[in-house]
């Protein structure tokens, strides 16, 4: 069969469909926003564009979690921390762009520092007025934290539940730290009141469309990167670690190094997602570090299907669409019942998630070669 219709090795059919949808949205949504009149049934209002942009950053975040949970078996309960760090790096750049237009009109210090009676910029705020530096920090801040944390944890062979608990402790410690005013990150209120990004008004419709398109591109590139990683020899080792870590180690692989690379890449992807998220929602505050947020990411992945990449992105969009839909209006008090019920139902009745179940159904129908390029079935990581 493979001699007749060679499988596209990197992407597979569903991967191409996914990329087509994401990139199609990147073209179609701005087009519908600009080219249709506001009365038209096809018109996409700007606030919806921003909302969709937010979903796409969540999808990228879910993708980063799926890379380590679905393929390495690392259940991180602290991935929200990497997302928030990327967001804070971007937020600091945006704060510096406000310049003298703040409430207190200080040319250098952000409003909250003037309010705290600080006289000069803390050292770690220097450089954030330059976009390239901030962009670098979006990658480095989460990346270095993941490197240090992962280096300690994987070298000591902290696995499974223990790793999950300490990642949760990590994000909880950061939550407490960022709540402090003395940390110099705006305390409880976080960073907000942004004006410009790269000289463009952050509120302007055009800027929002561009941010949406960038989010879609980032998601598409992130997907291709993850897909490339998991399809490579490197990815095969990751999957082997997920299924039998000790055996991999006995075969002569340095499992901890493989895990560390995957963890750092995943943290950087989460950081990028956070950096794209902040200008679209206009605020970043310590709440993003809360352990509950990180657990919610896990649910997106579980709903969509862990170890499928596409499923993670799909789950993030679906759950967040449901959240937006149900938390406004009459059903608002029941949203938590639904979310909680969803957690339970997915783990009980849909352990492979939506996409995983779909693959299973498709494979059973084909019942010949594994259609999607022969990835082993995801298995529990215990």
């Amino acid at each position: 069969m493979s001699t007749l219709t060679p499988q596209p090795v990197l992407l597979g059919r569903s991967g191409l469909v996914f990329l087509g949808v994401v990139l199609g949205a990147a073209v179609l949504v701005p087009l519908l926003n600009l080219a249709t009149s506001p009365d038209s049934a096809l018109h996409v209002p700007t606030y919806v564009v921003s909302l969709l942009g937010k979903y796409l950053t969540y999808a990228l975040l879910a993708l980063s979690v799926d890379l380590i949970w679905g393929y390495v078996g690392i259940l991180s309960l602290g991935h929200g921390a990497f997302f928030a760090l990327g967001g804070y790096a971007m937020g600091m750049y945006l704060m510096r762009q406000i310049g003298p237009r703040g409430v207190y009109g200080d040319p250098v210090l952000p409003d909250f520092m003037v309010f705290l009676n600080w006289k000069e910029l803390p050292w770690f705020w220097h450089g954030f007025d330059l976009f390239p530096f901030a962009a670098l920090m979006v990658l480095l801040a989460p990346g270095i934290l993941a490197l240090v944390f992962g280096w300690f944890a994987f070298r000591s062979r902290v696995t499974g539940v223990y790793l999950s608990i300490i990642t949760q402790a990590m994000t909880f410690a950061l939550l407490l730290a960022f709540f402090r005013n003395d940390m110099g990150f705006g305390g409880n209120n976080g960073l907000t009141d942004f004006k410009d990004i790269l000289g463009f008004n952050i509120q302007a419709d055009g800027t929002r469309l561009v941010l949406f398109v960038l989010s879609a591109l980032a998601l598409a590139l992130g997907y291709v990167l993850c897909r490339f990683l998991v399809r490579s020899h490197f990815g095969k080792v990751l999957i082997a670690i997920r299924d039998a870590e000790t055996r991999v180690r006995f075969t002569g692989y340095r499992a901890e190094n493989y895990k560390l690379v995957a963890f750092v890449v995943s943290a950087m992807l989460a950081g990028i997602a956070g950096a794209l998220y902040v200008p679209q929602v206009g605020i970043i505050n310590p709440g993003e570090f809360s352990p509950a947020n990180s657990i919610e990411i896990i649910v997106w992945v579980a709903v969509g299907g862990r170890g499928t990449l596409i499923g993670a992105a799909l789950g993030a969009v679906l759950v967040n669409y449901a959240k937006t839909y149900f938390t406004s209006g009459l059903l608002a008090p029941y949203w938590l019942f639904m979310l909680g019920g969803l957690f339970v139902a997915v783990t009980l009745f849909l352990p492979k998630g939506i996409v995983g179940t779909f693959y299973e159904w498709r494979d059973r129908r084909a019942s010949a070669t594994p259609a999607d390029g022969g990835l082993p079935e995801p298995k529990p990581a215990e």
Partner: protein, 546 residues
Amino acid sequence: MISRGLLRRLGGVLFLALGLLTAAATLPRPALAQGAAPDISAPLAQLATDKYDDTEAALGALSVSGSPAAAGIVAALADGRLMYSPATKQVLIKTPEGGLTDAATGQPVAEAPPGLKAVRVNNRIRRAIEAASGTLALVDADPAKRLAAASAVMRSRDEAALPALDAALAKESDARVKSALTLARASILIGKAGVPDAERIAAIATVGGEGNQDALAVLRSVPADASPAVKQAAQGAIAGIERSLAIWAVGQNVWYGVSLGSVLLLAAIGLAITFGVMGVINMAHGEMVMLGAYVTFVVQEAIRTYNPALFDASLLIAIPVAFLFTGLIGVVIERTVIRFLYGRALETLLATWGISLILQQAIRTMFGPTNREVGAPSWMSGAFELGQLSITYGRLWIIVFAMLVFVALLATLRLTRIGLEMRAVTQNRRMAASMGIRTNWVDAMTFGLGSGIAGIAGVALSQIDNVSPNLGQSYIIDSFLVVVFGGVGNLWGTLVGAMSLGIANKMLEPYAGAVLGKIALLVIVILFIQKRPRGLFALKGRAIEA
């Protein structure tokens, strides 16, 4: 209880006066006043002139007269119930009930003299009244009041009180009061001008032996013109006190640490069963604690409505109710959800997190999002002193309770049949099943036990935390850290883990502040897990993972 409430509401002097009055009216005369009653006719005559100068002088004379009637007279003056007749120069006290008694003898007066007027009081007289009642309290019949008066004098170091102190010292028989009086006298002597060096150094030694903050303040008040010998003695005494205070401060932190540790233990011990023994990452554990707290609230409401007399027993009633209720909820959760997920630990995390959201929202829907008031029974309020430590009964009971729960749980697992079956099933499920143990039933009971214990913890935590739907969330991370730190599957590990984290937290707090201390602790635990990935007391075995 009533007197404590009164004390808060009334000024100290007024209260003292009222107390003295009732005591004077109801009790036999105190030992102090035995023998011939001193003559107080001169001050009484001064009072009858109703001139401010005379009144002030009369107060001074009365306060050192030693007469049993003096306290009543001063109290009556403070309340504006001291009457005099300008015609007969008689001084009378109007009782709160409206009758009249003779100020000197305390005998009821049947017929009021004509033109009775109240002795006038201005601010100067009020200050004199305060001083006089303070002095009179030094010779009060109640030793507790004499003690309070002596320490008040020590804090004020009012030189004018010296004669009264001397008089009181001469009569005092109670050892504790006597040492307090000596201390007060020494405090005055240290700061008083013209005291010989030898006497002053003796006084410094007396005060230095006390070793609390008050003594430190007294010793720092040594006048600048005192001789070098006196100053040196004072310096030495101050250094000694500061050393002992530092030790007490450590003791205080340890005590707070043990108290926090027992709270952590209560919160974590149920999790040590569901997570530690069964391997379920039970994110709904915090909500079981929260349900226990709400059970306490409901029980208290029921008691308030139907039988307020039982209020002091409300917590004791709530304990079994909370255990049964949350235990039942736990069994239902185990039978409907958890049992399908054994062996998939990370997925139990998702499902139980979902359950926790549902439970929180259910409570929010039923009881509202705001805090609910859970009252403290009388035996849990108040405090006592232990050396320089102030120990509140609330903290003490929670520590005792945590230990009782721990011992009870340990005994259940070690000594009972169901405990044996629980351990058998968790160690080797198939073998246990082959021996005829109904493993399904044991699973349900184990999860129910862990949940029930969490509910009991909720009863205790309702006393120290806000009873709101979010109560559980604030404990869940700490609970997991305690169990993981102590070593999964080991109850003793949980005990040691809770106590070490509690004490470490309180020891860090003075140096780093509450938030930074907590952050430092989280980092320490994360690093510790690197060192010992299986916790403090890891179960030994030859199995390797995966």
